[in-house]
């Protein structure tokens, strides 16, 4: 197992190299530069040129790349071009909101999605099954910016029970934090809940058809016990994988969701930084996101291995 983990970690190195190169090249192709964001509209060409030199933008591309990678290897992600804040600090500041959003979404998936999937599978072809399956289709199909707008209208504007947007750190004001995270979490979570439900239902149905389950039933075990003890454990294996793979999807969902709810997370960070051409910030933030996604996938594989002893490494 340890060797397996190590091997997987080593395999991440070339992947990260690809990511770094692709990211860097792609960002340098962007038209426009950050001088307007920093100097304003009315700066002269000389002022812009001086600033570009200041930022090292007049250096050859490979040189800029080497400087950046050199820094990253030493743990230094550089400074924001626009605010001059250290990129690492900015990211550390933004991670909590996004991580919280993802954790809450995954919790929703576990608390709502999996049980709903179990119910749908156990009551296959019933009215309950149809309703739940219909809801999951809805959850997968509704664009999250549309869902977010509907939720804000209903819960913030009409009923006034939840704040429309914003963020309070969890340590500063727990209640304020939680009330502000409800709508974004439901928005982002709608997809994962649906995915978890569908996957649970599908795998559980498959497992219930397996020989060992039929045998268990035949030996007189109760239906509930069969489902919970035997079938569900096996059925959960693919659920874990599929849900973990959703972490990448969730990151995409946070981009639009954080914009609408004005959450200071990684999604808004990346989008705003791309629009302002604050390239060091984009590079650092995307790199962190990518590492995060890769690590979650790795952990998912390990859980998979742990849940399913048949898999040998």
């Amino acid at each position: 197992m340890t060797t397996y983990v190590l091997r997987r970690l080593v395999q991440l190195v070339p992947v990260l190299a690809v990511v770094a190169v692709a990211l860097f090249v792609l960002l340098r192709v962007l038209p426009g530069d950050p001088t307007t964001a920093i100097l304003g509209l009315e700066a002269t060409d000389e002022q812009r040129a001086a600033l570009r030199a200041d930022l090292g933008l007049d250096q050859p591309l490979w040189n800029q790349f080497a400087t950046w990678v050199g820094g990253v290897v030493r743990g230094d992600l550089g400074e924001s071009w626009i605010t001059a804040e250290p990129v690492g600090g900015v990211i550390a500041d933004r991670l909590p909101a996004t991580v919280q959003l993802m954790v809450f979404s995954l919790v929703l998936a576990v608390v709502i999605g999996i049980p709903a999937g179990v119910v749908a599978a156990v009551r296959q072809r019933s009215g309950t099954d149809s309703v739940l399956t219909g809801l999951s289709v809805f959850g997968l199909a509704i664009p999250n910016f549309f869902l977010a707008a509907l939720l804000v209208l209903v819960f913030a504007v009409w009923w006034g029970v939840l704040p429309a947007s914003g963020y309070v750190a969890i340590g500063d004001d727990l209640v304020g934090n939680l009330t502000r995270m409800v709508l974004p979490s439901v928005t982002v979570g709608s997809t994962v809940v649906a995915v978890a439900m569908r996957q649970t239902r599908g795998s559980l149905l498959a497992a219930l058809g397996e020989d060992y389950v039929r045998t268990a039933r035949a030996t007189g075990l109760s239906r509930r016990r069969t489902v919970v003890v035997y079938a569900l454990r096996n059925a959960l294996v693919p659920v874990v994988t599929v849900v973990a793979l959703q972490v990448g999807v969730l990151m995409s969902a946070t981009v639009t969701t954080e914009t609408i709810f004005a959450l200071p997370g990684m999604g808004t960070l990346v989008v705003n930084a791309i629009f302002a051409r604050d390239l060091p910030l984009v590079q650092g933030a995307v790199l962190v996101i990518v590492v995060f996604v890769l690590l979650v996938n790795l952990v998912a594989d390990l859980i998979y291995a742990w849940l399913d002893p048949r898999i040998v490494y």
Partner: protein, 299 residues
């Protein structure tokens, strides 16, 4: 799906038999599947809409500042938008975009991803290692972030949005195809073909590809919804379609800001988007279930 290759009668015949023998029962299963029928109905609507779209071109694109944001009425069943254009016409016209997303973005990624996946899986060795590291690298980017950056680099617009979506989907196809190929490569008939000296390209195209078609069909259907969602999100962020044309995503984007005062502007295109993506998902589900029983894996 041909089996002309005389050197390998067994494998070829098996593949052909699979293709032949499978299609009718599969079709029958599909036609009995409500999910498939619902999905297909929506798709037919979209195709019809795309065909009829040009007829509504004027109503779609000509602003009329005398009927700004009127609610649904007899003259405008879905109401009018912020420039006084008929929302029904724009929703119908917007279906062209979905077809383009399906045909161009998913199409390109299907072809490119399949080619890369076949190459990596069949050749193995360093080709596989290099290709798969690139694939892993690209897949590690959150889809929307990568697409967003590509569109920002190429410039906004539907064409560039489609290219960006194709780029982000290609590695997914490559990975799926490679995995399938790896499992097929060890089959006797593939080994046999290689041993008797059938050129690699022929093995890949004539023998492996037909066996992948079921998997690819299901996977492509799934990616349709991803692609449609990505296009909508890019348009929402202002990087998608160019005026005066409109996609549902762009219409929702301008409508959600007025949800309280003029619900029709966001709700109708939003529903269109929702139904379409749901339809794609239902189709994918139905196809997977239909093909699983008699899919290529069973041959």
């Amino acid at each position: 799906m041909s089996s002309e290759n005389s050197t390998l009668p067994d494998a070829g015949a098996a593949g052909a038999a699979a293709a032949e023998g499978v299609s009718r029962p599969v079709l029958r299963r599909l036609l009995r599947d409500r999910r498939f029928l619902a999905g297909a109905a929506v798709v037919i609507f979209i195709v019809l809409g795309s065909a009829l779209g040009p007829l509504f071109r004027d109503a779609m694109t000509t602003p009329d500042t005398d009927t700004l944001m009127s609610g649904p009425s007899a003259a405008h069943p879905f109401g009018t938008d912020e420039l006084g254009r008929d929302i029904l016409a724009r929703v119908v016209g917007g279906s062209v975009v979905i077809l383009q997303v399906a045909a161009v973005a998913v199409g390109i990624s299907l072809v490119a991803g399949t080619a890369l996946g076949l190459l990596a899986g069949y050749r193995g060795g360093w080709v596989d290692a290099v290709l798969m590291r690139v694939v892993d690298g690209l897949m590690a980017f959150p889809l929307l972030v990568l697409a967003l950056t590509i569109v920002a680099a190429l410039g906004p617009g539907l064409r560039n949005a489609l290219i960006a979506i194709a780029v982000v989907l290609t590695p997914r196809f490559a990975r799926v195809v490679r995995a399938e190929v790896l499992s097929l490569r060890s089959r006797e008939w593939v080994s046999a073909a290689r041993i008797v000296g059938v050129p690699s390209r022929a093995v890949m195209l004539r023998h492996l590809l037909p066996h992948l078609s079921g998997t690819l069909l299901v996977f492509a259907a799934l990616q349709l919804s991803t692609a449609a969602m990505a296009e909508a999100s890019l348009s929402f962020l202002g990087l998608g379609i160019q005026p005066p044309d409109s996609s549902w995503g762009a219409m929702v984007a301008s409508g959600v800001t007025r949800l309280e005062t003029n619900w029709a502007m966001a709700v109708f295109p939003g529903l269109a988007l929702l139904l379409t993506i749901a339809a794609f998902n239902l189709l994918a589900d139905a196809l997977r279930d239909a093909l699983d029983a008699h899919g290529p894996e069973e041959v």
